[in-house]
Structures are given as C-alpha cells and as structure tokens.
Assembly symmetry: C2
Homo-oligomer: 208 residues x 2
C-alpha cells in the first residue's frame, strides 16, 4: 500500500476476531519497526511478543479493573446498541476491548533502555518511532492494534513475569488482532490549526 | 511509494542542498503527521515551522557548540577526506550538519502538552508517533531530516523566541532540506535479536 493510504486509514482498532496472529507476521511488522530512528542509532529497544496464559490472565484482569475505575470516575455507562454517535461507538469499543482483553490473539510490548543523564521524555524518542512503524506496518498487513498504557496498574508483576531487567522501561503495550470492524478514514483536526510559523500564535489561519 | 520502501530507505539525512522547502510541502507532511495516534485522541501537539534569521542564528551557534563539546569529550576529529569507513562518514556528516545548521532551509519543532499525573515518558507517546509520520512523509517527498535534541542547550531562549506556553514541552527539532547525499537502504541489527516471546531471554534465535 501507498504510505499516505496506510496513514490515512490507520484507525485505532479495539475489537478483534479470534483468528490467530502468527509470530512470523508480527516479525514482518517488527522488521519494519527497527527501520525507525533511535538516539545515536543505538537501537536500545526490545519487543516482547506476549502470548502465555498467565500474561493474558494478568492483563485481562488489570485492564477490566482499569476501565471500571475510569468509567466510574467519568460516569460512563455502556451506551444502548442503537446509539450510533461517535462517543457511543468509542465507549462501546472500550467496553469490548477490556472485556475481551484476556483473549486477544497477541500483545506486543515495547521496551526501551532508559537514557542516562536525559529526561525520560527523550527515552520515548528512541522507542515510539519504532512503535509507530509497527502500527503502520500492521495496518498494511490488515492487522489492527491500539496503544494502551493500563499495564502500568500491574507493571511490577508484569515486568517480573516477563523478566524485564533493571534500567528498562515499558513504553507501551499493544494488543494485536484482525479487526472485527473496518479500517477507514481517520478523523483529526486540521494540521493547519496545530501548525505555526516562527511564533506560537502565528498559525497558518492566523499569521502574524 | 510503498510503505515498506519508504521505511527501508528512510536514512537520517544531515547534509542539505540550498534548495528552499516551501510551507506547503511541509504542510503536506504535517497533514500525514496528524494521522498518528495520541493519548485519547486528544491531539495536544503543536508543530512550529521555524525560518526566522534570529532562530537560525541561535540554533546555528548552539549546535556548533554542542557538537564541539561532544567531539572534545569523545576525542573526535574530522576524518580525512579519503576515509570511507562507516564511522568516518558519520562523523563527517555531523561536522557538516552543525557547520551549516544556521543555513538549513527550515526547522520543524515538535511540541506536546505535558500530560498531568503521568510520567513524562508517556507525553512522548502522544508526539513521537506524529514526528515519525512526518519523517516518513518527508522521505516520500524526497525531503531529508534527522532528529536532534541539542536545542536543549538553548531551550529557554528558544521557547521565549517562539512563545512556547507554560506546560508545553519541546520533544524534538528537525532540520529539513533536500538531501545532498542519497537515500538508500538503512542498516539495523536484525529484529530477531531484539524480539522475545513471553520472556526476555526467549529470543527467536534463543527460545527457552
């Protein structure tokens, strides 16, 4: 697929079919992930494909709880099935994601070695580009995924199960599967509104 | 171009021709940048196209000094012109980058609103995917760029010049121009060496 077509249809996917996802297919995506830049081209990254029953169980329980707490705090309820509004569809997809999180075909966890003497933000500069390459490569192969961070609620236990060494951070955990729904054009605010020239207030729609 | 061809030839480019780079072309890249995911799709990002003489002057001076300090610390000298080794080519490209940093056609600065109650690492998850989309889109259009962070040496002055509001972080600054050299296949360690299944030590070449 053309680069721009992949980017423009790379929706977050939260509902997956039961169809298994092979290691070989994930490796094809990871082979493109490693094409991404990293600080001084050091490639201090590790990609963990997670499939074990123990990990599914831990993450399933954790994500269910994470969403339950969030939904309670935000007073979110499951929308009625005939509510086709944007927010209803999003909330429904979140319910479906967490309720089935313990059975998603696979997870890919993105880890990075913390950069000494640098703010933690910059550790991200050496792992999230690779993650984004992975997401785009997965989309091109018809695989759906979404960035999640609720593993933070069970991070110590997860790190111990996987054996993540001292000094490494978990940057993201992505469930991966074939989408139940469809890929389609994504919606964003126009880039012009988020872009300025030389000064913060000089946007293209509002030049100084 | 095909997604995988873009990714596999997306080298860091540090040497640029004098050919100007239009706002419209940068906007085309930024329109693909905003297709990237961000936390809760909040799109709390701002892209600053920097072109003013003052900013060129400040960054030129700062990057020259940053490299001089680094080179002194690492005892790096300009390699002789006939040294075609990998490291010689890299060091030469760094010298050329900083010596011409005050005349690169444009810079694009990537800013993100700091996420409250989250470690700063996760702020990166909402800006570096957009930056990576920008880098890939630029490559596809024949533009070269490289991630830099030495602006940190003049960050307060730069933020004041641009008018970056409180609470926003500068995540990266990318010089952009048409490459003097060529795009070509990138070199990375095999993804297999960086991937494990269920446990850190169970790499594909070394399953448990």
């Amino acid at each position: 697929m053309e680069l721009s077509d992949v980017m423009r249809t790379c929706r977050a996917i939260r509902r997956y079919t039961d169809e298994p996802v092979s290691d070989e297919l994930l490796m094809d995506c990871l082979r493109l992930a490693v094409c991404a830049p990293s600080g001084s081209n050091q490639q201090k990254w590790r990609f963990c494909i997670l499939r074990s029953a123990k990990i599914h169980q831990l993450l399933g329980k954790t994500y269910k709880q994470g969403w339950a707490d969030y939904a309670a705090q935000m007073k979110l309820e499951r929308p009625s099935a005939d509510d086709a509004s944007r927010s209803a569809r999003f909330i429904r997809s979140m319910f479906e994601l967490v309720e089935n999180f313990d059975t998603v075909p696979a997870y890919v966890m993105f880890c990075a070695l913390r950069t000494p003497f640098m703010e933690e933000l910059y550790t991200g500069a050496s792992i999230y580009p690779a993650m984004q390459n992975f997401i785009l490569a997965a989309r091109e192969k018809g695989l759906g995924t979404v960035i999640t961070t609720w593993y933070r609620l069970c991070e110590e236990e997860l790190k111990e199960l996987v054996g993540v060494p001292e000094g490494w951070v978990v940057a993201a955990l992505l469930p991966v599967g074939y989408p139940k729904g469809k890929f389609g054009p994504i919606k964003r605010r126009p880039a012009e509104e988020a872009t300025c020239i030389d000064h913060w207030d000089a946007t293209l729609s509002n030049p100084e």
